[in-house]
Every structure is written in C-alpha cells, then in structure tokens.
C-alpha cells in the first residue's frame, strides 16, 4: 500500500480524506467500516477539561502493526488503517480511527471490531484526565476491555 497504514499523530484527522485514501485504487472494495473513538466530556460524573494521551514511541507502531496484520490473517480484507492521536485533546475531539475495507461487510465489521478490542488492551497508550477544577488522574483500565479481547480467542 502506498500510504502508511499506521499513523501516530498530534493533529486531528479528516474522515472523508482518510477513507478516500484507503479506498483509492482498490476496485474490489464493497464495504468500508470505520470506527472513531471520541473524548466523552463526562467520566464517572466529573467534567473533563482536557484529555492527554501518552504513548511509548516505537513500541506503539509495532503493536498496532501487529494487530493490523493479525486482522488481515484472520479475515479476507482489502486495506486497513489505524490512526491514533497523542498529546492534549478537548472533549468531543476525535482520538482514534480504525478503518477496514473488504469485498463484503461481514469481514470489515469483524476486523474493525477486532482491531479496536486488541488496540484497547495491547497498544501502549495511557489517558490522563484533567477536570474542570484542575484535578488530574490517570484513567483506569476497564475489565470489560480485557473480556472483549478474550472473546475473540473462542470465536
């Protein structure tokens, strides 16, 4: 593929542009599934002012590429793309994009879901919230994310 399939960046992304690039030149694509994760402005009832994303440079790219290739091994896909933002973000901003293309919809739905579930538990990103009153705290990992990953093992 002539464009990077993994992007770690501070700047926001444009959905139409990214999906058009992902589809370009691939005439067998019939289905595109895109997941966008956004910053909720409420977590456990407190107003979030800023969300900061820390990551582990170099390992992040490797972990995401491993997940992406696992998805391509498991399903018959055309192309795929993972964009994850780092740094500071405001409520309602886009954090992550996972986009997958395939001939038929079943594969793209499963693969995009799979990539997100594995990203959540295997890619070295950490979220830190700053509340309106200035307090900060590191977001706790959710047990349900580990469960979501485990489910793919028995499918």
């Amino acid at each position: 593929m002539p464009f990077p399939c993994i992007k770690i960046q501070q700047e926001d992304f444009d959905l139409t542009t990214e999906i058009n690039n992902l589809r370009k030149g691939h005439k067998k694509i019939g289905a595109v599934v895109a997941f966008v994760g956004t910053v909720r402005d409420l977590n456990e009832g407190d107003d979030i002012a800023v969300l900061e994303l820390e990551h582990y440079p170099n390992m992040t790219e490797k972990a995401l590429e491993d997940i992406r290739l696992k998805a391509h091994d498991r399903w018959n896909l055309q192309t795929s793309l993972i964009i994850h933002r780092i740094g500071k973000m405001q409520p309602c901003e886009q954090i992550v994009l996972v986009a997958v293309t395939s001939r038929h919809r079943e594969e793209a739905f499963h693969a995009a879901h799979f990539i997100m579930d594995y990203l959540k538990t295997n890619a070295p990103f950490w979220k830190k919230e700053t509340f309106a009153n200035g307090d900060t705290h590191w977001v706790d990992a959710r047990m349900s994310d580990k469960d979501a990953e485990q489910k793919w093992l028995s499918r």
């Binding site: 994760g37 994303l53 820390e54 990551h55 582990y56 170099n58 390992m59 490797k62 972990a63 994850h84 954090i95 992550v96 997100m116 990203l119 959540k120 538990t121 295997n122 890619a123 070295p124 990103f125 950490w126 979220k127 830190k128 590191w138 977001v139 706790d140 990992a141």
Partner: protein, 83 residues
C-alpha cells in the same frame, strides 16, 4: 547495559522516565525488578508488589521470567488505556 523506561502513572510515582543500568548481572526481568525494588517502598510498590505491572522487552510484551541481555530496552507501565 540495560535501558529502562517508565510510563504514565508509574513514571509519576517513581519520578523517572528513563535510566540506564550498566550492570549486566540481570538474567531475567524478575531479577531486575528485585534489584530495583531494593531502592525503597515506592519502588517495591510500583514494581515488585504491583500485580497490574505491564512489561515490555524490546517493544514486545514480556513477563517476569523473560530473559534479559545486554543492550535490551525494558519498559514498565500500567495497563494500557488508549483508543
């Protein structure tokens, strides 16, 4: 020589993002954790007694019994929360 990285809440708790250890007597991650944890309670709590501790060796997820060689990059961090 080992390069050691700390991330997120662990980095804050230990007040350190990165260090280089010149000794080479560490056969496994477990071994390294034991030595670092001798620095004090803060370290023992963050590493030795931390059941949620995540470990990577040379950018791959590792465990306490992963063997170490000189030149390795070892990272310690809490469970990931991206996406």
């Amino acid at each position: 020589m080992l390069n050691i990285l700390y991330f997120a809440s662990l980095k804050e708790a230990l007040g350190q993002a990165e260090e280089t250890i010149s000794a080479t007597e560490f056969s496994t991650v477990e071994n390294l954790i034991n030595t670092l944890s001798e620095r004090g309670e803060q370290w023992a709590g963050a590493l030795l007694h931390n059941t949620n501790l995540q470990i990577a060796v040379n950018h791959d997820i590792a465990s306490r019994d992963t063997p170490l060689s000189s030149g390795d990059e070892i990272a310690f961090f809490p469970p990931v929360t991206g996406g």
